[in-house]
Amino acid sequence: MKKLLLTVLVLIIGLGSVFAAGEQEDATEYDHVIGKIPYTFEHAYHQSVCREITEYAAKMYNTKAVIIDGESSAEATLAAVENLISQGVDGIALHCGDAGLSAKAVDMAHAAGIPMVTTLIRPENMTAPHIQPQETPSSIYMGAEAARQWKAAHPNTPIKVAMLNFGGIEQVWDMRTGAFMEGVQSVDPGAELVTMLNGQGSTVKSMEIILDVLQSDPDVNLIFGANDEMALGALAACEQLGRGVMDNGVPLTEIIAGLDASSAALVKIFDPNCSFKLTHGAVKDIARAEVDTVMAMINGEIPMDEYTETRVLSPTFDFWNTTIAEGQRHLETNFFYEGDLEADVKAAMK
């Protein structure tokens, strides 16, 4: 027994020193260390943001980015902030789902003298630089465009909207679901929001829910998922029911819109016969803006305790107004896409 314990101890310490040797190296290698807390590492979007931040910070600033997952939970986010502060990073980029918690995190970081930049969810106290992707106008535009396309094809059919959200996060309404509805109603004031249910950000869950929604109201003709995963779930549900098709961009059964502009979505969007047609989002610009702002604060170029808002476009991609080449470029710069979008679209159509 004692022998076993001793072996374990020796092993652990030995391993530790090996790691330590490696670690010491990279600590001296970099000029700065910054921390990044994504909303949840489980979504493709946030993983891409983290990857861009890591690569961009290393390349442009010779800076190491430490990623600690916010796990889409308030406690985990708070713990991540605390840990990064005690690790003594030089700056923190935070994407957290709650304005109150963001404000608290900013205060904590400032108390420790560490600059922090927030993303998407504007902290209540507004005492630190903030990156604001322009989701609201893009969502409004997307809603309007979807409604226009539907009305052009079916002038006499009233628009009925179903939505999938994350369940009760208000900002999602302001920037995504509500804004989308506003856009729809700007075209067709009589458009009706039939239902809004919690798709939990999951494709499978969303598919099941949309199957039920289309059952209770088969006339639903506009579906918006507050991220691409949910939109893809909605699409799968429609396809299951023999819907989800378009005639070369002319809506037949419904129009589906998503959000994030990931490769999985764009492949569908540029398929002329698929009813998933709109999405918006950006990764690269947001990630770079985060790094740039944090580094500017570290280098004393901008004050760390003054609210500035860096607006980042959230470009919209839809079948009707964007080209496949634009989509290709977007994916390459934002989602580390290495394929050929056109070929992928063709492959997916078969």
């Binding site: 314990l5 020193s17 010491q24 889409s72 406690e75 208000e170």
Partner: protein
């Protein structure tokens, strides 16, 4: 002879081995990354394991009696929401305005206790498996937590002092530490020095002996559920204060974290003895592991895999140690 066995007992005691594992983990991380071994980081670790330890104290007792409580996570979330709601809005239905913090706290503790009562009634009166009963209550609690404010967080209008217990310190010691310390001390005393602890052990270890000694298992299990419910509610209040907002999504998966901490701490699901100290070390191990692996910049998904390996490994080790001890004792017994 007696001295020798005592020494041996100390060395092979599961809690001590667990402590060694904890120390080894700390050494490992300290050698692996310069970002880990800092006083402020240890403060974080304790702060982050506060809720696990506080609720774990109650769950340790429950598991000693062969029960378990999966509703603690949603109980925590519900308490967090209700507490925030009461201090911000009061009880609109009764025309009562915002309540003072202490009054809201008391109401929330009572609600937490009532959830405990519900669990207890299902388990002792309707003879539910604890797993099923508390799973049902878990769903109900989570739904109610979300329904409190239509699924939204409450984050404005808090009275002064709302954030004190979760964030502030007294003489440099955070209140949270004081609460954890008190919980550990109180529950260690309950465990070692009171009827409740002793009877909980007796019920979990040997039902017959408990019966023939005239104990009432149902009453004891009921009390333990109520205590655990109150602790979860208290953790909810602390969470609300620490987060400085009422979050209905808080505590998701918390029940399993607590379960794992208690199991690592050496309290078996099949009942019998456990130790509060073991649970505390178990909670610390979980937190240190997450913290240290994060500091080493290990990918989160590997961390999940490690969590599984460590859980199974620890339990296998535990059962082997137990078997070893038992065999040694039986051998000693036959020789004597």
């Amino acid at each position: 002879m007696a001295n020798k066995t005592n020494k041996l007992k100390f060395l092979t005691h599961p809690t001590f081995i667990l402590f060694l594992v904890f120390v080894a983990l700390n050494l490992f991380f300290a050698f692996s990354t310069p970002r880990f071994f800092k006083l402020s980081n240890y403060m974080n670790i304790i702060r982050q394991s506060t809720m696990i330890m506080i609720v774990g104290c109650g769950c340790t007792f429950l598991m000693m009696t062969e029960s378990l409580d999966l509703s603690v996570g949603s109980n925590l979330a519900l308490s967090c929401m209700v507490y925030s709601f009461l201090v911000v809005f009061g009880i609109p239905g009764l025309g009562i305005g915002p309540l003072p913090l202490w009054a809201a706290g008391i109401i929330v503790l009572i609600i937490g206790g009532l959830i405990g009562v519900l669990n207890a009634v299902l388990v002792t009166r309707f003879d539910f498996e604890p797993f099923i009963a508390t799973l049902g209550v878990m769903y109900i609690g989570r739904g109610l937590a979300l329904a409190t404010f239509d699924g939204k967080s409450i984050r404005t209008g808090f009275p002064d002092g709302f954030e004190v217990i979760g964030n502030d310190s007294i003489l440099g010691v955070p209140y949270l530490f004081i609460f954890v310390f008190l919980a550990i001390v109180i529950f260690s005393i309950l465990h070692k020095k009171t009827l409740l602890g002793k009877h909980a052990i007796a019920i979990g270890c040997n039902k017959n002996a408990a019966f023939f000694s005239g104990l009432n298992p149902k009453r004891i299990v009921t009390r333990l559920y109520i205590i655990t419910g109150c602790l979860a509610a208290f953790a909810g209040i602390l969470t609300a204060s620490r987060l400085e907002h009422g979050d209905p999504r808080t505590g998701t998966g918390f029940e399993f974290t607590v379960l794992v901490a208690v199991l690592l701490g050496g309290t078996p699901l099949s009942g019998g003895n456990g130790t509060i100290l073991g649970t505390v070390i178990g909670a610390l191990i979980i937190t240190v592991l997450g913290n240290g692996l994060n500091a080493m910049d290990i990918l989160k998904f590997w961390q999940i895999v490690f969590k599984g390996i460590i859980l199974i490994g620890a339990i296998v080790l535990h059962s082997q140690l137990r078997a070893r001890r038992r065999n040694a004792l039986i051998a000693a017994g036959t020789k004597a």
